[in-house]
């Protein structure tokens, strides 16, 4: 019996090694090609396929300059964060990567990102005051910098020229108030013909109703990032206006949920939407919008005289656990340098966070007049109107309450008469969520 047992163990060990061989056999036939490229190159991870060619070009220039190889990896948004989290939890993180305001607090709080203060002090290329302060703030934690701003985005009013022409109406412009926009949208709405003046889904927070809230003097999140503004009187006023738009000039809520608002716009069923500058590549690529559409500034509010845009931006960060922090910094410094920020804008990758680069971006296409997006973040040229750039509202775990908000306001979208109640209810939920955030 004993002999049996030993031989059984031996055979089972063989079996195990056999299965292991099965796997590693495949590996050995390919190990060579992958091993070579990943060990020498810095791994850079991004999530937007549209930006890949431009970023690659800038990284290639870096390799030419320094001799440090760079490998740019594009992931799809969901798996990007899964990978980064898995990497941070004990695997290997990419060396240099994009950070987003929704997640930056968690990563900075847990020391997952390389602290850049000392590098910035010594650098002659990076001066933090040159970047849009609203973006810098997103990646500053306990007065330390953890990422160099890469870009920023603003919201503007996109409109369908053809639909305005057919109705013989004047195009939207910087003198419009929200009431002007409402009136125009009303004229353009013909519910029987399934044509609508405006569309705004409950998920379009950053790119639609948040801007209205700030424009009308309300707020989403208090300045200390601790309390909800959804029960603020001004916010509720703004949300009442949102309800008016939904009732009179928008497609039914279910249609907007089934078909995203940008697709409704791209199909010529909706005359206006408010959208972020991140959509420019998509609108450029789409033959319909390229031919029929253009963009203007967001309207302002008549009473407050405020024109507001939420401003978010990505940052270039490095992993705290990277084995080559100095090389990482060199790359981040390169990507954040004035010259390369210009290059990024010129290539039309995105608006760059570095001051004075906007004209370069505006020139990346002649299909649209992109000054609408840029002017949102500049001094106002209209008398009596103030342009307000609102820092993206973040807390420790902003995904949780933004996502909860999109869910809790669904009934209000369906039946706008519930708007006030639902907003007040949500304010309580949001305060609870923020209070329970682990920190």
């Amino acid at each position: 019996m004993k002999k049996r047992l030993i031989s059984a163990l031996m055979v089972s060990a063989m079996c195990l090694s056999l299965t292991a061989c099965g796997g590693s056999g495949g590996d050995s036939s390919d190990g060579g090609s992958s091993g070579g490229s990943s060990s020498g190159a810095l791994r850079v991870a991004i999530w937007d396929n549209n930006q890949q060619p431009g970023i690659q070009e800038i990284c290639d220039l870096f390799t030419e300059e320094t001799g440090i190889e760079v490998q740019v990896e594009v992931k799809e948004w969901d798996s990007y964060w899964t990978l980064l989290e898995a990497g941070a939890s004990g695997g290997d993180m990419p060396d240099v990567f994009w950070m987003h305001a929704n997640n930056s607090q968690i990563y900075m709080n847990n020391d997952m990102l390389l602290k850049l203060d000392d590098y910035i002090d010594k650098s002659d290329k990076i001066d933090m005051s040159k970047y849009l302060p609203q973006v810098t703030a997103l990646y500053t934690y306990d007065d330390s910098y953890y990422a160099i701003p890469k870009d920023y985005d603003t919201i503007a009013l996109w409109y369908n020229k053809t639909m305005f022409d057919e109705a013989q109406m004047e195009y939207p412009n910087e003198n419009w108030t929200w009431d002007d926009m409402y009136e125009a949208a009303k004229k353009l709405t013909d519910k029987d013909a399934k044509k609508y003046g405006y569309a705004m889904n409950v998920t379009n927070d950053q790119d639609s109703y948040w801007n209205m809230i700030y424009s009308k003097g309300g707020y989403v999140l208090s300045e200390d990032h601790k309390t909800s503004g959804y029960d603020d009187a001004k916010t509720l006023e703004a949300m009442e206006f949102v309800g008016k738009l939904l009732t009179d000039v928008c497609p039914p809520a279910s249609v907007m949920a089934e078909t995203q608002t940008d697709i409704l716009f791209e199909s010529g069923t909706v005359a206006m939407i408010t959208q972020g500058s991140w959509m420019v590549p998509a609108f450029k690529q789409n033959e319909y919008t390229a031919e029929h559409c253009d963009v203007a500034m967001l309207p302002y509010d008549k009473e407050t005289g405020i024109r507001a845009t939420i401003c978010n931006g990505l940052g270039w960060a490095a992993a705290a656990s990277t084995k080559r922090p100095d090389d990482c910094w060199k790359l981040i410094e390169w990507l954040g340098s004035e010259e390369m920020q210009f290059k990024q804008a010129e290539l039309g990758v995105t608006m760059s966070a570095y001051e004075g680069t906007s004209d370069a971006w505006a020139g990346n296409t002649d299909l649209f007049d992109l000054t609408g997006h840029l002017a949102m973040a500049e001094e106002s040229t209209v008398e009596g109107v103030e342009n307000l750039i609102v820092e993206y509202p973040f807390t420790y775990n902003a995904v949780k309450w933004t996502s909860q908000c999109q869910k809790d306001l669904v009934p209000a979208w369906d039946d706008p008469s519930q708007m006030e109640d639902k907003c007040k209810e949500f304010a309580k939920t949001m305060n609870d969520i923020i209070a329970s955030e682990s920190k």
């Binding site: 299965t19 099965g22 796997g23 590693s24 056999g25 495949g26 590996d27 036939s29 390919d30 190990g31 090609s33 992958s34 490229s37 990943s38 791994r43 991870a45 999530w47 937007d48 396929n49 549209n50 490998q71 990896e73 594009v74 992931k75 799809e76 948004w77 798996s79 899964t82 990978l83 989290e85 898995a86 990497g87 939890s89 004990g90 695997g91 290997d92 990419p94 399934k194 078909t259 940008d262 697709i263 409704l264 791209e266 199909s267 010529g268 069923t269 991140w278 959509m279 998509a282 690529q285 789409n286 033959e287 319909y288 919008t289």
Partner: protein
């Protein structure tokens, strides 16, 4: 006799009508994929009026993705992934399936309940722990990493156990009387009889490996070690997708699967020729 003939004929027509009906329903997305690939970007997302056929057939999407993506490399990675997964799955599942289905031994029921237990867990919870294992042994960005979670299969073990249980007892008894030991009767008598289940498992393993998305995306982040599914997923931007290009790439990605299917189908038909079967 005559009525029998007409009955058969009517039956045959009914069968074809049913099959054609279901075929159309099954094919809709496939056809849709191809139609979208030939459309322009705006037509692809056009909803009012709803565009079924492209007004201008353009193959621009195909040529763009073909030049942008290294399909030959992707084919190679995908085929290696499928090959090793199928080999591992069929090998381990056949052995285990036979043991669970035909043999009696201590601990069998407990072990089999572990197999079932594994199937009850949503696959999403395995991704991060398995990634950490691969990462600890420094094997990310290899074919081994791609194959790793598919080395064994609970589903396949269960499938082959079922297949073995369905075989007549008499076969094995005869083999035993002829002096075969368990391994011999497994190898020469029993396993050939479950060939069609092995083929089915092969098909499943191949399709699952081909469609597996989250795992390759997480474990093989380097572009030149990705299989097709992962490379396709990176084409989708955070905010929007170029649908014609996405669909064109998906269509090109289907090619190796169709080729593999044609090879497998031959196996399928042969199985029928020996056992036959009619309604």
């Amino acid at each position: 006799m005559h009525s029998m003939e007409t009955r058969r004929k009517v039956e045959r027509i009914v069968v074809h009508v049913v099959l054609i009906f279901f075929s159309i329903i099954m094919l809709v997305p496939f056809i849709w994929m191809l139609l979208t690939a030939f459309k322009s970007v705006s037509e692809a997302t056009q909803i009012d009026p709803f565009v079924i056929f492209p007004t201008v057939w353009t193959s621009e999407a195909f040529s763009k993705v073909w030049s942008n993506m290294n399909f030959l490399l992707l084919y190679k990675n995908t085929l290696l992934l499928i090959f090793w997964r199928v080999v591992c799955a069929v090998l381990t599942a056949t052995l285990a399936g036979y043991a669970f289905g035909r043999l009696e031994f201590k601990g069998k029921n407990f072990m089999f309940s572990l197999v079932l237990f594994q199937m009850m867990i949503p696959a999403q919870i395995f991704i991060i722990p398995q990634y950490l294992m691969v990462s600890k042994i420094g094997m990310t960005n290899t074919i081994f990493a791609l194959v790793f979670p598919g080395i064994v299969t609970a589903f396949g073990t269960f499938l082959l156990k079922t297949a073995y249980m369905g075989l007549p007892v008499s076969l094995e008894e005869a083999a035993r009387l002829d002096g075969c030991n368990i391994f011999q009767s497994f190898l020469f008598i029993m396993s050939p009889l479950t060939r069609s289940s092995m083929v089915a498992l092969g098909i499943f393993t191949a399709v699952f490996a081909y469609k597996d998305l989250m795992w390759p995306l997480v474990v093989n982040s380097s572009a030149n070690m990705m299989p097709l599914s992962a490379a396709l997923a990176t084409m989708q931007g955070q905010y929007q997708s170029n649908y014609p290009q996405l669909m064109a790439a998906s269509a090109i990605a289907c090619v190796p699967m169709i080729v593999l299917y044609l090879l497998f189908q031959k196996q399928f038909i042969e199985g029928i020729a020996t056992s036959g079967g009619k309604l």
